[in-house]
């Protein structure tokens, strides 16, 4: 296995040893299960609520995992001074950054898979009780394969967040990294507003700045297709591939910059 692979596997092992991770996933699974109860309050909208709550749980708890583990990936090694031992080995610095990122993505993928299975289990239980008329009337079937599309886009979004956290982690403290990552996450949902700022602001300079920020900041809103999927509306493969490719390119940029900063950092 390559050096990068070893670092990734070690990163994965390290994060799965973290008890907080289990608490987060257990809580998410519990919440997804509890959505069954919430669904009973909603005049025939049980499946919609379960899917909404399930997908939101995957996204929110995935975000916590991405941020709180991502910000410590590099900075913890520096704080604990274990970075010196790592750097003494025949490992290139960018391999450390990429390996750490791959390890956390693997952790995220496993956790997202667990939460998705929990969601499908609850949906299967509810869907099994549907009679033919109710089944036909649903906007989307209980065990809708299209949910996977929403989950995949959530995973890519979480990968972007992980890359952001890792990027900040290469030169900043965990607390500052967490603040900046959450800030960028929120800004990522408002980037549409930046693009439309010219409709409310007259200044040409402000318009150009907003336009520039629109392209620089991550645009996270397109990764949220939960509403379309829950309502049974199509999410085309073209849209999926375009959005995923954008995500991967953005991740690549963050990793390149992060690895460069980390490579030039003086640990003396």
């Amino acid at each position: 296995m390559s050096t990068l692979g070893w670092i990734a596997i070690n990163g994965f092992r390290e994060s799965v040893r973290d008890k907080v991770l289990y608490s987060i996933v257990a809580f998410a699974v519990l919440l997804i299960g509890a959505s069954y109860l919430l669904g009973q309050l909603t005049a025939g909208q049980d499946l919609k609520i379960m899917k909404d709550l399930g997908l939101s749980s995957i996204s929110i708890f995935g975000l916590f995992i991405a941020v709180f583990i991502g910000i410590g990936l590099v900075s913890k090694e520096v704080e604990r001074r274990s970075i010196y031992g790592l750097l003494a080995k025949p490992v290139r610095r960018h391999e450390i950054v990429l390996g750490k990122f791959a390890g956390l993505v693997l952790t995220l993928a496993v956790n997202v898979a667990v939460m998705t299975l929990a969601l499908y289990a609850v949906l299967a239980y509810v869907g099994a009780a549907d009679d033919e008329l109710v089944r036909k009337a649903r906007e989307a079937p209980a065990l809708d394969p299209a949910l996977i599309k929403a989950v995949v886009l959530i995973l890519v979004q979480l990968m972007i967040v992980t890359a952001i956290a890792l990027f900040f982690s290469t030169f900043s403290t965990p607390i500052v990294s967490a603040g900046l990552t959450f800030g960028l996450y929120v800004a990522g949902y408002f980037s549409q507003d930046l693009r439309n700022l010219d409709q409310v602001v007259g200044s040409k300079a402000a318009q150009n700045l907003a336009r520039g920020l629109y392209y620089v900041l991550p645009n996270l809103a397109p990764f949220d297709v939960a509403s379309q999927v829950v309502h049974g509306l199509p999410v085309t493969w073209q849209y999926m591939s375009l959005t995923i490719t954008y995500g991967l390119v953005y991740i690549a940029i963050l990793l390149v910059v992060g690895a460069t900063i980390f490579s030039r950092r003086d640990f003396k």
Binding site: L38, L41, T42, A43, G44, Q45, K48, I49, D52, L53, S56, S59, I60, L133, V134, K136, A137, E139, V186, Y189, F190, L220, D224, A226, S227, V230, H231, L233
Partner: protein, 315 residues
């Protein structure tokens, strides 16, 4: 080993004692400082603020507002069903404010702003908003505004036109507008054939009980269980109206014949006119009041019966 068991026993005793103390303290605090429940009249946030604050997970927050709207409508409708709740007492005598449904539309508006394809929020919301007769706010204008908002988001939803027709038919008793709405819905590709006949029947015989029955029968075939339940209830109410009409005729005739009004079912049973106390379609005994009027019981799920739309007159 013995020592370890002893320490576990002590731990259990300590937990029980502390747990008891915690419960006692809670009870003491609750008795001195009663728990405040959430203010019913609090909207939480305006539509504009909510849609800015909820930048992600909008669909989930829409669900929460929908649940809030259901609870709000349900609890207020129950309050309104209490005898006398419909009549506003003089301020000096009023123990509490009359039941108001002021927040229903804002709740539904927020839910549908956050999730513009929230089908059930438009359809049920419109039914709730148009419901008058002490059971709801009686705001057909808001019901139609909500459905029109739904049509902006999903122009191909013929069901929203069906519901607009419903609101015009029942709440406004404006049959030409109802027929026009059914016809607009019928024009949408995929609309069922009966939408067209519904438009024609409404235009020709609006207000006729059979037309009303036809409207609810179509709704009773809806896919949503709650919609079916409501339609079945409305059909039972129409049946109840028919039963009451027949009984009333017989009672009035019997009263005239014997020269005194009938004030109890027993008089009719003794006269062998009816075998027993008649039941409404929900299985609850009907009531005969001192002025010889037959009504459904307040205990019946069919109470109160709807005001029937006025039959269409003229061309």
């Amino acid at each position: 080993m013995e020592r370890s068991r002893l320490s576990v026993a002590w731990a259990i005793i300590a937990v029980l004692a502390l747990g008891g103390a915690a419960v006692g303290l809670q009870m003491l605090r609750d008795s001195r400082y009663p728990l405040t429940t959430s203010d019913e009249e609090t909207l939480y946030l305006t539509r504009r603020v909510t849609s800015r604050l909820v930048f992600a997970h909008r669909s989930l927050v829409a669900d929460l507002y929908w649940i809030r709207a259901l609870q709000y409508f349900g609890s207020h409708a129950l309050k309104a069903k209490r005898p006398g709740a419909a009549f506003e007492p003089p301020p000096a005598l009023a123990a509490e404010r009359p039941v108001s449904f002021d927040l229903l539309y804002p709740f539904l508006d927020i839910a549908t702003t956050l999730d513009p394809r929230f089908n059930i929020a438009y359809r049920f919301g419109a039914i709730f908003l148009s419901e008058g007769n002490t059971q709801g706010p009686g705001r057909p204008d808001q019901a139609i505004a909500l459905l029109e908002k739904g049509l902006q988001a999903s122009p191909n939803k013929w069901e929203y036109w069906q519901d607009i027709g419903f609101v015009h038919y029942w709440a406004d008793q404006d049959y030409p507008k109802a027929a026009a709405a059914f016809a607009r819905g019928a024009d949408i590709p995929g609309a069922p054939w009966w939408m067209r006949s519904l438009a024609a029947t409404t235009l020709a015989k609006g207000g006729d009980r059979n037309t009303s029955r036809l409207l609810w029968q179509q709704m009773a075939e809806a896919s949503n269980e709650s919609a079916r339940y409501m339609a079945r209830l409305k059909l039972q109410q129409l049946d109840a109206l028919e039963i009451i009409e027949k009984l009333q005729k017989g009672i009035d005739a019997f009263g005239i014949r014997r020269g005194a009004p009938v004030t109890s079912w027993n008089e009719l049973i003794v006269a062998r006119l009816i075998p027993g106390v008649p039941l409404d379609p929900a299985g609850v005994p009907l009531e005969l009041d001192s002025s010889s009027r037959v009504t459904v019981s307040m205990q019946s799920p069919l109470f109160p019966l709807p005001f029937e739309p006025a039959p269409r007159t003229g061309p």
